[in-house]
Symmetry: C3
Subunit: 304 residues, 3 copies
């Protein structure tokens, strides 16, 4: 899973996904010769830093967000959050400003909870900092910052190898509430008439969704997608004997939110491996769940 | 009001409105022969579980949401909410899973407020439960779960009988923040150029809006629709001598929200009878207010 | 700055911007003969109470919201807020109902924080009240209610005098979360293909953005616009030697929000003078920052 390790190290906090987009574009160009179908690449003017791969005659789109959570330097030594990262004193952050590369640590004011950094110089206002990647792999698990959502991106790239008909859309800003899925969805719907979407993202280990027990199929989070579509997916997973867990939550959200509220009748479903230590530098996912995730996406892109 | 009673019993929590849509489709097909104008029925592919009736040359659309609040089984015996139902210990809930029909009661943990159910077996994860309908009618009032919004739907069906020009749009997901009005609005605007909308829904009895004093015309809730449009409606109500009350609230929302924020210049207004015991199994509405609601909608669909 | 003084006195709370629209329409018609380019005026049917000025071949649009915060009479003597005004006991409010003109004062219940008014008669339900304008100008500063956003509107009118290519869009409802930028953006994008937007609005004086130190260019507020676009703007400001301050906040929002979440790939940036005493009758802005704001907009409309 060397590819996953590389993905986890790319600097791409929400609003600045350009390095991820360039990496993926390069990866696709290097690897597509060995894929079953060579996709059409959609990007550039009108798509900001997003990238879409269109295979054959698509009926379903996979959305995988490229951006990560992180921090931004406010004024003086203050840090504010990009999205919702866990921030414990001592976490290592990396970034770069005009004076050069930065590796600093998080400091938390115990009374106020206010965040700042410890570094040997002042960092320029507005500089983005992300978790330093400490990638760890065992026989059973992978652990790193940013498995959410580099694993969702990685999953899409595995599916791409044998995909005949479908779209993979790599989007931006998911961690800060969205901002690209609206126009990607519009383009996809207007160009291909597609209204089925799978959200390739990572969810939480909970009392009902456990590590190693299969990929999670979400019946709901803070939003409730159309029930008949999710039930169709659960049935396909059952028939294909792919390990899966039905998730039922009242909180949380994903790229599905922009589809749900947008002016297109999307049927959408969040499907992803669960992780522990969410939004920390130590996100942990079981390899069996990753395998189930890839397997289920491959089947769904054929059967839906 | 036997029709209202039947509507209140239909299982259609947000995300699973298919039974309501089928009931309404059947009802329209059975009854439209006696209507002044036979509407065009718009539904099926591209409209999920929504249904629209188009009469003549429409200038105004009535939105009435079909979905209801309810509960969903999470893990073990836990219940989570669909929308914002009141949950008191002892409330009766009904539903169905693969093992059969269910009638259970709500249990509330007094310390944590966490909800669960009391039933003689474990209910399957993800099962939807709704209030058991106890429909009560007096000379002056109706009382039942789900008057919000089966009464808004019923109102639209009364208006349909004599409607010559206009659209009735039965939508989904209102109780969980919306999800269908966006695409219904887009279709309506693109197909018919309509930009006037009335929200046929039920509001709250408050110190300023009282039972039996007339239909409420909302000047604002958490959102403020264009003032000149609402004032035009108030003027029409005054001239027609229809009992009405101007509502002014800083909280609450409706299908109007999706119109307001969407990319179409909608003039919209929430108009509905007020109810007491909101979002409980005992929603109570005064019959005079229901009559005023139907009367006002009939006039507005002619004069706007 | 007599024009600014007049703008600050116009009654135009969110949802009822018609008087501002009429004032601006009249102003443009009176003054455009002396402008470098005479703009096309877009308004009326399909645009509610909004107004757009289209100059030459536009590449960039300036959004300036016309609406203000204020109060609305609820039931009895209760006041509720329109947007987020500061409400201190004794603030003077003005408005009008069918019984005539009103000048009253804010009363605050010390225990509950509930707002009401002191006036010699009861004011009609639903009446809008706004701050009474007390416009104060020194050599260095202007102070008044509603500099947010009459100053943003004023800025756009200064830019209009020499603008050759670009759009100025005067919108509604910003103070209550939006409601017009969606359809203005759609029209602009579909008609002119424009995807660059500047938000002409007023921000806050903070520890990092100070009065008299230049116009604020916002790298982020609660949302993060595309970083490469904001950096391009900062570079242009640097090269033109225009006093500016980079703002980095985790809260707040603007018309940029509707662009960000909408289905068009907008590059947008909030650029505005900072003010003290935000959302009170005493909003205070430094004239140097106003000058820098106008200067930067003029350069950006040429170079972007």
């Amino acid at each position: 899973m060397e590819l996953l390790h590389r993905l986890c190290q790319i600097h791409a906090p929400s609003g600045n996904e350009v390095l991820m987009k360039e990496f993926l574009l390069h990866y696709v160009q290097e690897n597509q010769a060995s894929w079953k179908v060579k996709p059409q690449l959609v990007h550039g003017k009108g798509f900001q830093d997003c990238l879409m791969l269109v295979f054959g005659q698509p009926r379903t789109v996979i959305f995988a967000h490229m951006d990560s959570i992180g921090f931004m330097v406010r004024y003086g030594k203050q840090l504010i959050r990009i999205g919702g990262p866990v921030a414990e004193a001592g976490y290592k952050l990396v970034g770069e400003d005009s004076q050069g590369k930065i590796e600093c640590t998080v400091v938390e004011n115990e009374e106020t909870g206010a965040l700042s950094y410890d570094f040997d110089r002042e960092i320029e206002r507005g500089t983005e900092l992300v978790f330093k990647c400490d990638y760890r792999e065992t026989e059973e698990t992978v652990q790193s910052c940013y498995l959410d959502n580099r694993l969702g991106v990685w999953n899409a790239l595995q599916v791409a190898e044998t995909l005949e008909n479908g779209i993979i859309a790599f989007g931006c800003w998911e961690e800060t509430g969205g901002g690209s899925v609206g126009y990607l969805a519009k383009y996809i719907h207007e160009t291909y008439g597609v209204t089925q979407a799978l959200i390739s993202d990572i969810t939480w280990v909970t009392e009902g969704v456990q590590a190693g027990q299969g990929v999670a199929i979400s019946l709901r989070d803070s939003l409730i997608p159309r029930r008949s579509f999710v039930q169709k997916i659960i049935k396909i997973a059952q028939e294909a004997n792919i390990p899966h867990q039905v998730e039922v939550e009242s909180a949380g959200g994903s790229d599905g939110k922009e589809l749900h509220y947008g002016p297109i009748p999307w049927d959408w479903c969040f499907i992803g491996a669960p992780e522990d230590h969410v939004h920390s530098p130590n996100e942990l996912v079981h390899k069996k769940d990753i395998q189930a995730m890839v397997d289920l996406y491959k089947v769904l892109m054929q059967k839906l």
